[in-house]
């Protein structure tokens, strides 16, 4: 084999100054890598493909599936490329008879325990096991193939379906649930060939501590985990001429659905999607960003009221910091793990639920539609939204405010079924009255986005100055980023007059002059947990006034209903798409959204946090605790 030399490109593998470089030879190609680089990482820098299955960029290496085994000179057995660090010069071979045979056997063994037919599976053509079978030329089941299912399918959850017959025990879901989300709903029970991914006591998913975030689905290599598919129910509504079916779309699915149609990550499909939805038979398409703007006004006002009580009235009972409440996974997490912190949760509903309540009241009234004949569908990046819209308290319009929460993946399926070539159809606008929203609502999809949107509004309302005066192009960069838990401070140096919309709530802003507003941001529930523990221990986050929590890593754009696969790179591209769109909006602040202002004039006439908005736009929570019977 010809020997080539190449140096791992900087940027592919980050080189820390004090890390030693080690020489590795992989399939005859010599390269230098920083000590501690795994064989897998090293191989990737030179384009040597090593198959993986239990490996996932977001998770710690487990080395359990063994598909990535390679030969290492001097070692009696084959080594897993994903877990073996290169700390001294080594010679690796990835293409020997032993390696090829072993990989083929491992695929054969997985197939021998994997029940189901590829063509009757949601993950057909997007399945890592299927891909491996193809890669290793599997043309018969060497060690057999199950003909009967072993386990019943768990469809009890309103968000997630578990079919353990398709599980290959890579444990990515278990590691996601524990390492990334800190929920600990999933575990491995029993041992040996009996071992199985299980919930506590093997109970149905609906009765254990699960926050429905769906991150497990996003990391499942097969069809063992999927969202509860409601597309048929939505089709039935669309096909029913007596129903007025409307849909709202959130920014994250719009930035990601293109991936299901062969587009590179980060291709926005917002306006093509509008066309597609209308062709599919939706009577109207609305932008959830409006209710995101509403959320800012409601949640922001709530924050001001809490701060006013705490700072002016010296009311110690006020729960601070205030927690955001737009991520339903996070909300359920609090209900389970920190029921004592429920008072800190903003009572403002999530944008999905706010818009639902408004559609079945304001919109219905305006258009002379009987809300009982209305069906509100929400296109969300999220599986927890399915649970959220089924909460019994979410019926403030007198009906179920949102009837169906569809994930990005379900919508992609419906579009395919309709024969629509999404990337190549003309663009069209949203429907009145929830047409053009603000860029502030748009960035709700990314971690730090809610905080940035809130700050744009709070700064302008309090100082009376344009936010651009303080932050270039209104980009509040200090709250952006990808760190799992972060803080930012903004000192209010000047105050202006109280805007009309808030005049009935506070007389002036003098009490905020010189106050340093401390805000926190956490995404990925394991980070949220860190922040809450820090607050309980009186750490730095306990001094925050307002904290944005998102259950999913990266925020909604990394949601459990988003296209598979997901990883840091894909999330970064989706985030870029979202922020780029924000900059393109004419209106980039929630309080300048003309439709929102019109709403307060026409419908929510007693203003933010007023009686009407409390009735329709705010909610209450259920302490659930961790103990189940």
């Amino acid at each position: 084999m010809p020997s080539e030399t190449c140096i791992a490109e900087a940027g592919t593998v980050t080189v820390e100054p004090d890390v030693q470089m080690v020489t590795a030879t992989i399939d005859g190609i010599a390269l230098e890598v920083p000590s501690g680089t795994t064989i897998l990482e090293a191989a990737r820098t030179i384009g040597v493909h090593i198959p993986t299955l239990c490996h996932h960029e977001d998770l710690r290496p487990a080395g359990v599936c063994r598909i990535c085994v390679v030969g290492v000179e001097g070692m009696r057995t084959l080594q897993t490329a994903c877990t073996t660090p290169i700390t001294q010069p080594i010679t690796v071979s990835t293409n020997t008879k032993a390696v090829r045979t072993a990989r083929r056997h491992i695929v054969d063994l997985m197939l021998a325990n994997h029940y189901g037919d590829c063509y009757a599976c949601k993950r057909n053509n997007n399945c890592e096991l299927q891909a491996l079978a193809k890669e290793y030329g599997v043309d018969f089941f060497r060690f057999g193939h199950p003909t009967e299912p072993k386990y019943p399918i768990d469809r009890t959850s309103s968000a997630i379906v578990r079919d353990m017959n398709k599980c290959v025990l890579c444990r990515r879901c278990v590691r996601t649930c524990n390492e990334v989300q800190g929920v600990g709903c999933l575990t491995v029970k029993d041992r040996s060939a009996r071992s199985q991914v299980a919930t506590f006591g093997d109970k149905p998913l609906s009765s254990v501590v699960c926050i429905n975030c769906g991150q497990c689905i996003n990391r499942c290599p097969t069809g063992a985990l999927s969202e509860l598919d409601q597309t048929d129910e939505v089709w039935a509504m669309l096909d029913d001429p007596t129903k007025h079916v409307v849909i709202q779309t959130a920014p994250s699915p719009r930035a990601a659905i293109g991936e299901c149609f062969g587009q590179p990550a980060g291709t926005s499909m917002t306006y093509q999607l509008n066309t597609a939805l209308k062709r599919m038979g939706f009577d109207a398409v609305f932008d959830t960003n409006h209710s995101a703007d509403l959320t800012i006004l409601e949640e922001g006002t709530e924050l001001i009221l809490r701060l006013h009580s705490a700072l002016v009235k010296r009311d110690n009972a006020v729960a601070l910091p205030q927690f955001t409440s737009c991520s339903p996974g996070w909300v359920k997490y609090v209900e389970h793990f920190y029921p004592e912190m429920i008072p800190n949760l903003s009572t403002a509903k999530s944008p999905q639920q706010m818009l639902g309540a408004l559609l079945k009241t304001y919109y219905a009234e305006k258009n002379g539609i009987d809300p009982k004949d209305m069906v509100v569908v929400a296109l969300m990046p999220c599986t927890a939204k399915k649970f959220e819209c089924n909460r019994p308290e979410m019926c403030d319009s007198g009906f179920k405010d949102v009837d169906f929460g569809l994930t990005t993946r379900e919508m992609a399926k419906m579009i395919s079924e309709s024969g629509i070539d999404l990337p190549n159809i003309p663009k069209s606008d949203f429907e009145m009255p929830f047409q053009d929203a603000s860029g502030a609502g748009q960035i709700f999809g990314a971690t730090g986005g809610v905080m940035e949107a809130a700050l744009r509004t709070v700064i302008e309302m309090v100082t009376g100055q344009k936010v651009e005066k303080f932050f270039d192009r209104a980009n509040i960069v200090p709250v952006r980023g990808i760190e799992g838990a972060r803080m930012a401070e903004i000192t209010i140096t000047e105050v202006g007059p109280v805007p009309e919309i808030l005049k009935h709530l506070v007389p002036d802003w003098e009490w905020l002059r010189g106050v340093t507003l401390k805000v926190g941001i956490a995404h990925g529930t394991v980070n949220a947990r860190r922040v809450v523990e820090d607050i309980k221990a009186g750490g730095p986050f306990s001094e925050c006034h307002f904290i944005e929590f998102m259950a999913c890593p990266g925020g909604c754009l990394g949601g459990g209903g988003q296209p598979i696969p997901t990883n840091a790179e894909i999330r970064a591209k989706r985030a870029k798409a979202i922020y780029d769109l924000d900059e393109a909006y004419a209106v980039r602040k929630s309080h300048e959204n003309p439709i929102v202002l019109q709403l307060y004039r026409e419908f929510l006439t007693d203003g933010p946090c007023g009686h009407q908005s409390h009735h329709l736009l705010h909610t209450s929570y259920t302490p659930r605790g961790k103990f189940i019977s």
Partner: protein
């Protein structure tokens, strides 16, 4: 005051936490203690304990269902566990099993309707010398026969109604551990503290002592690595999870020479700078616990453990015993550490090795019981003496647990390098058809290879010798081995978890004459894959028997009469 069942459990658990730390490593001890009084671990108890330890209930559930000796469902007052190792099978375990089933009116895996008895199979309990053997709760009964089993069950019933505890019945095991018997306790420790740690390591290295658990890692090097590793806390762990079927030499050492084991741990602590030692004792050896505790107490009183050992300020070291919970794989050192930390006993990825990052991520020395005992002799009598025995790469002597078809089973102290033939001569096993050297993970040696040497150069082993006479069926042997590995696989890696099941199915196909030669070749190839790709020694060794069957006993599988015809 009226209390619900849950309130009562809560009170008991709170009480237990008074004597256990609120750290995850206390999880298994807490579950075991709760089980003593409560019979089993209820779902509520799992959740409450999880809450106390600030971990998830599902994690406790995952752990509890991993270990054989943690019950998540109510079981009988008497849990009867019959050993199903090959020695037991050869000595009539099946007859005993039938007697148990008939006597109790239940099948294995069931509990009598009155809640008195639960019947289960268990992996080897270290009583091969007196097979068949079983445990009734923590008590061991050996040399079982059908009438004896009947009497034991009747005794249990009577003793339960008269509130007397059932006491086990084990006869003496033949052993000739002469070197250990002649050792003068504390000779090594008193000598070691006059030497520098480096000198102790040098002595051990010069002796050529290698780990006696089976892997054969040089002991001096292991201590040296841990001594050199950075860390405020370091641990000395004694691996007393002797689970290799057919092995019982550690039981003999712990029963007769426990002082030597603790002493060597103390020397190791002196060498690497450790303050805490842990003996990981397999649950099946619970009957040794009172004896070990009393030896530890005596050593503390003699200032051989505790603060300022031997009057040397700063030499502080103590040893505690941590009970295993019924998982063979925990004999693998990283699985053992996981278990110590209160997790499922699943082997870790290596590197890092325990000497660098082990228990609680601190440098940890894990040594087998026999390794430690040998270390004492070496420090007492010198590396030269030790190295003068054995072969080039296998220095010194070794204890062998001998069972199966021979006239003198027992524990033998023999030098490395003897041939299988010589060993058979010594133990009265002449005329054997095959010998399993090194337990189920070792090599199945056919008669024509009995001139092979028992040494790391050839048949490097952990110490178990099982002798198969002329009329033993090698397919039954393979079936028994594979059933064992399947049961004891932790289940994390694909080849071991799923591959061994396919091998067992294959052996059964062979038994019924339904395995084509082509499929047999597939299975042999799969065996190689399992050996090459499994994460730990269990998986890597599990298919050995299939390879041996194909290499050495092919005539037996190809021309055998078909079952059931």
């Amino acid at each position: 005051m009226l209390m619900t069942g849950q309130d009562q459990e809560q009170v008991i658990i709170n009480e237990l936490f008074k004597s256990h730390s609120r750290q995850r490593s206390a999880l298994i001890p807490i579950l075991q203690a709760l089980q003593v009084g409560h019979g089993y671990i209820s779902e509520f108890a799992m959740q409450y304990i999880a809450d106390c330890l600030n971990i998830h209930a599902a994690e406790v559930y995952g752990l509890a269902t991993f270990y054989h000796f943690v019950n998540t469902r109510p079981k009988g007052k008497f849990i009867i566990r019959l050993s199903r190792d090959m020695s037991s099978m050869m000595k009539g375990a099946k007859v005993v099993a039938r007697q148990l089933e008939n006597d109790l009116g239940i099948r294995f895996g069931e509990t009598t309707p009155d809640g008195m008895f639960t019947l289960e199979w268990t992996s080897c309990i270290g009583m091969n010398y007196q097979a068949p053997a079983m445990m009734v709760n923590n008590e061991v009964f050996s040399n079982l026969t059908a009438p004896r089993v009947h009497r034991i069950i009747e005794d249990c019933r009577q003793e339960f109604s008269s509130h007397r505890p059932t006491v086990g019945n084990v006869s003496e095991t033949y052993s000739n551990t002469t070197t250990y018997s002649s050792y003068k306790v504390n000779a090594a420790l008193t000598k070691a503290v006059t030497m520098t740690p480096a000198a102790v390591i040098a002595e051990l290295t010069a002796s050529g002592l290698r780990g006696r658990g089976g892997a054969g890692f040089p002991t001096g090097m292991k201590w040296g690595l841990a001594a050199a590793a950075k860390g405020d806390r370091k641990y000395i762990v004694c691996n007393a999870d002797e689970g290799e079927p057919g092995t019982f030499k550690d039981r003999i050492i712990l029963g007769k020479h426990a002082d030597m084991v603790f002493e060597a741990m103390t020397v190791a602590a002196y060498v690497v700078g450790s303050r805490e030692g842990i003996v990981y004792l397999r649950y099946e050896y619970s009957h040794l616990r009172p004896h070990l505790d009393s030896v530890l107490t005596a050593r503390r009183q003699a200032n051989l453990l505790g603060d300022g050992i031997l009057g040397r300020p700063g030499f502080d070291f103590d040893i505690r015993i941590h009970m295993g919970a019924g998982a063979y794989v925990c004999g693998e050192e990283t699985a053992l550490i996981e278990s110590l930390e209160g997790r499922r006993g699943e082997p870790r990825n290596r590197p890092p090795y325990p000497a660098e990052r082990g228990f609680n991520n601190c440098p940890t020395v894990v040594n087998n019981v026999e390794t430690l005992a040998s270390a004492c002799c070496i420090l007492d009598r010198g590396a030269k003496w030790f190295a003068s025995m054995g072969t080039d790469r296998s220095k010194g002597f070794k204890l062998f647990s001998v069972s199966g078809d021979c006239s003198h089973p027992g524990v033998y102290e023999l030098p490395w390098g003897i041939t299988v033939d010589q060993l058979l001569d010594t133990v009265g096993g002449k005329g054997a058809k095959a010998v399993q050297v090194g337990g189920y993970t070792g090599q199945l040696v056919p008669a024509r290879q009995f001139d092979r040497k028992i040494a790391y150069e050839d048949l490097g082993i952990g110490g178990s010798i099982i002798i198969y006479g002329q009329d033993r069926d090698m397919l039954q042997v393979a079936e028994n081995y594979l059933e064992f590995f399947i049961e004891e696989s932790c289940g994390q890696c694909t080849p071991c978890r799923d591959g061994n099941v396919k091998l067992l199915e294959g052996v059964r196909l062979l038994q019924s004459g339904k395995c084509s030669n082509r499929y047999l070749n597939d299975l042999v190839s799969l065996s190689e894959t399992i050996q090459l790709t499994s994460k730990c020694g269990l998986g890597q060794a599990s298919p050995n028997v299939v390879v041996a069957l194909n290499t050495h006993f092919k005539e037996e599988i190809l021309a055998r009469p078909v079952l059931g015809n």
